[in-house]
């Protein structure tokens, strides 16, 4: 597991790109980033029941003149498919940050199908996807995805690989460490 503080870089990227609203259904990998955003008076963090609400939030924010982003786990990408019609049809920005499950060392097989399908599903809905597997690259990828979204009026997603975040531990009897 990386010790590099990528959430600090993402928070800095959000700040420099003037992201004001962050919708989220939290994930373990997002904890520190969400803490940083909560502590920032320039940002509002909205906890959602379903990730597709975040696409609505981002859409409304843009129509009203604010920049927003959606942060979620890869399983949540399955919940946003139809909602992604909004940025596609309105030709407006939609910035997404996705922490991956079902990849490197995943011990919960139930996470694997959606994890495997995540990039394909996003791309099928017209989203430009950046997959990042090194902690040092995450902040830069978020800045690049934000520029593409906010200046190009498109949907972009940064997928943060499980190798960056670390696999969730499910220790059973007999397994050490």
């Amino acid at each position: 597991m990386s010790v590099y503080d990528w959430p600090r870089d993402v928070h800095a990227a959000f700040r420099s790109k003037a992201v004001r609203q962050i919708g989220t259904v939290p994930d373990a990998g997002l904890t520190r980033l969400l803490d940083l955003c909560h502590a920032d008076d320039a940002m509002s963090v909205m906890t959602l029941t379903r990730e597709d609400e975040g696409i609505g939030l981002v859409t409304g924010a843009w129509l009203g003149g604010e920049r927003a982003a959606l942060a979620m786990q890869s399983s949540g990408v399955g919940n946003v498919i139809n909602a992604l019609s909004l940025p596609a049809v309105l030709k407006i920005p939609c910035l997404m940050l996705v922490t991956m499950r079902g990849q490197w060392g995943e011990a919960n097989g139930w996470q694997v199908p959606m994890g495997r399908a995540t990039p394909e599903v996003l791309e099928a809905m017209g989203v430009t996807v950046y997959s990042v597997d090194h902690a040092e690259d995450v902040g830069e990828a978020v800045s690049a995805a934000a520029d593409m979204a906010f200046h190009g009026g498109i949907a972009t997603a940064v997928l943060i690989g499980q190798r960056v975040i670390g696999a969730k531990a499910f220790k059973t009897k007999g397994e050490g460490r």
Binding site: R20, Q21, G23, S44, M46, T47, L48, T49, R50, D52, E53, G54, I55, G56, L57, V58, T59, G60, A61, W62, L63, G64, G65, E66, A68, N82, A83, S85, L86, V89, L90, K91, I92
Partner: protein, 198 residues
Amino acid sequence: MSDLMAKDGRFDRRALVAQLLQDRGDALVVGGLGASTWDLAAADLDERNVYLWGGMGLACSIGLGLALAQPKRRVLVFTGDGEMMMGIGSLAAIAAAAPDNLAILVLDNQAFGETGRQTGLSAGPTDIARMAEGAGLVETMTLGTAGDLPALKELLYERSGPVLAVAKIALTDDPLVLPTNNGAAMAARFRAALGLES
């Protein structure tokens, strides 16, 4: 304008929406997918309306993002019972964010009017206003008669939000009044009306 109450004692949706938008001031209005958006177009083709031809379940979430971005303006969401039920969880996020300028009106005909009038869940024991109350909205009401209209107007325009009202409306055959289905043009016009670059 047609009568506010339809023959079966429920509200006429077109007359109700038209009356509510008569004195809208600088309010921004989001119309939920389907008939609510057609109502909005029939009543008041205004650049400060968001017309939704898709994204079922997201009208209130769009209203939330908009209300937070435009805190000095009233933001109204007019949507149907099926659309509201699909996004019912969004009321919890709205209650938590607590934008005091957001008001929601559910036009409840207890049916999926756009897809063949199949019976909706609000025809049964489900009470949308009570679900909104449970989600933590500041104030809710269910309209009974035309006499409730002043209270509804006050709730939607004056009371501290987020608030939600349910109007039981009749199933009617209304002339189709379609706003533009060009979402990009609609979004650009909406932003321009707010002085934002498109």
